[in-house]
């Protein structure tokens, strides 16, 4: 199948490929998909004290469109705050990468990965706030 130039560019030059320390309380990790389905995405964000995403990384098992969708997602996440990041829609990814209908699931997976990473971060963040509050009371 023919890929768009943008998909090929992300595949050949993936942005922000790699991993962040998942035990870091500032890091949110989202892993979505399943090997049986041919797609697994891991997306990580590192949120600064000001609530702005200062770093994002991905690793993806999947076709070129899945790799491109997650690579693009990390580019878009950097510099956004958590609320803004939540607004990223799979349709924006489809449009940017010119994905054909059979590849729309790749963009859906990328959106799911963003949401999963954000939820993980928020869960950790709340936990650490609660812990701090408990400490303060004691």
């Amino acid at each position: 199948m023919a890929y768009s130039e943008k998909v090929i560019d992300h595949y050949n030059n993936p942005r922000n490929m790699g991993s962040l320390d998942k035990s870091d309380p500032q890091v949110g990790t989202g892993i979505v998909g399943a090997p049986e389905c041919g797609d697994v995405m891991k997306l990580q964000i590192k949120v600064g004290p000001d609530g702005v995403i200062e770093d994002a990384k991905f690793k993806t098992f999947g076709c070129g469109s899945a790799i491109a969708s997650s690579s693009l997602a990390t580019e878009w996440l950097k510099g956004k705050n958590v609320e803004e990041a939540r607004q990223i829609k799979n349709t924006d990814i489809v449009e940017e990468l010119c994905l054909p209908p059979v590849k729309i699931h790749c963009s859906v997976l990328a959106e799911d990965a963003i949401k999963a990473a954000l939820s993980d971060y928020q869960k950790k963040h709340q936990e650490s706030e609660t812990a701090q509050a408990v400490e303060a009371k004691a």
Partner: protein, 404 residues
């Protein structure tokens, strides 16, 4: 070395220059209709067709009168199954085939099921082979046809056709063999293998596209077929339609060449294949061979690369023409049904690549492909979260994947 490198010979092959040369006069100069009985144009065409028929028959140890020309293996499979079912309906209504057959057989069987025919789809072992005992056990009083392929188009596994042929004979059931991937590559003898009907095609063996054949046994037993098309009654009434003389001439020449070079060619391609297999496996690790280790086509290699998805692997080697068992390109998201039928996990089915070596591949090309595969798999493994998890000691089978 010229790029791109073609290594997808199960899909199609280029026309051998010698076959092309033989065909050329039959387009414009010797253009007669082989069915024209009243002038030299027709006689000339008929003679060319009969000479090709003899070349084709010789390759498979058949009588020339047992060769029926078709448009290709898909038509041959359709003609064999539908033609037998219609002709022998009074005798029975049961077919036996296998889950790893080509779609031309499986989808034809499905259609026949809608018409009230019972079909048994035999499973295969993890090497992709049909068990002859399973064939024997599936035969009933109502069975009229067994359709089992000679060699699989994805994984190259060769079925025990001669044993199945013997069982079919014992039980008086007809045996159709889709030998599309085998004819011209490995020795095929319809007598020794007890084959009653056999589909094969020209373009998989360095002949032109658009022509194929169905071998139809003439004696012990004489197989009768209802035709798919009504018309002028060509090919002993089994396949009406004007014969494509140039294509048939090319097909005949391709068979003659295949017979002459088969021993040398299969040894050379098997050596290339084994070099690829061993170098890639030893260098990368966690590479799995799909199909039977020895009972396989000499030019077929099908590998699964753990932690890497097949389509992305092909994308990284754009200058090499290969095929993937991943079906990420189709809307179904279902990977190869052949690999799944063999019990390969869906994850490894998504990670498979088929290498189809051919007559014109050089050792330089083989070395190039080996290098590019290693390079690309390494790059994609670095990018794979599964590889990372496995290296951290996580057993991927125990992970609770969230599937929507």
């Amino acid at each position: 070395m010229k790029l791109p490198v073609y290594m997808d010979s199960h899909s199609t092959t280029p026309v051998d220059p010698r076959a092309l040369e033989a065909m050329l006069p039959y387009f414009a100069e010797k253009f007669g209709n082989a069915a024209s009985r009243n002038h030299s144009f027709g006689w000339e065409a008929e003679q060319a067709v009969e000479s090709a028929r003899a070349q084709i028959a010789r390759l498979i140890h058949a009588d020339p009168k047992e060769i029926v020309f078709t448009s290709g293996a898909t038509e041959s499979d359709n003609l064999a199954l539908k033609g037998v079912v219609e002709m022998y309906r009074e005798k029975g209504d049961h077919l036996i085939t296998a889950v790893t057959e080509h779609r031309a057989v499986l989808d034809t069987a499905r259609r026949l099921e809608k018409q009230g025919i019972q079909v048994t789809y035999l499973p295969v072992g993890e090497d992709g082979r049909v068990d002859p005992d399973a064939v024997r056990e599936a035969i009933t009083e109502r069975t009229i046809l067994i359709s089992i392929m000679l060699a699989n188009n994805e994984i190259g596994t060769i079925n025990p056709a001669a044993e199945i042929g013997r069982i079919a004979k014992e039980r008086g059931v007809l045996f159709h063999c889709d030998a599309t991937q085998g004819v011209g590559k490995i020795p095929v003898d319809v007598e020794a293998m007890g084959i009653d009907l056999m589909s094969f095609t020209s373009h998989k063996m360095y002949g032109p596209k658009g022509v194929g054949a169905l071998y139809v046994r003439k004696k012990n037993p004489r197989v009768r077929l209802a035709p798919l098309f009504d018309g002028g009654g060509h090919e002993r009434g089994m396949r009406s339609g004007t014969l494509p003389v140039p294509l048939i001439v090319g097909f005949g020449k391709a068979c003659e060449i295949a017979g002459a070079v088969m021993t040398e060619e299969s040894a050379r391609l098997a050596r290339f294949r084994d070099k690829m297999l061993h170098t890639i496996m030893e260098t990368l690790g966690e590479v799995y061979l799909n199909g039977h280790p020895t009972e396989r086509l000499p030019h077929n290699l099908n590998l699964s690369f753990a932690y890497v998805e097949g389509e992305s692997l092909l994308m990284g080697m754009k200058e090499i023409a290969l095929s993937s068992g991943s079906a990420c390109t189709s809307a179904s998201l279902e990977p190869s049904y052949v690999l799944k039928a063999m019990g390969r996990g869906a994850d490894l089915a998504h990670s498979s690549i088929r290498f189809g070596l051919g007559r014109f591949n050089t050792e330089e090309e083989v070395d190039y492909v080996i290098g590019r595969v290693i390079e690309t798999v390494r790059r994609l493994r670095e990018m794979s979260p599964l590889y990372e998890m496995a290296r951290e000691g996580i057993d991927l089978k125990t992970v609770n994947w969230k599937v929507d």
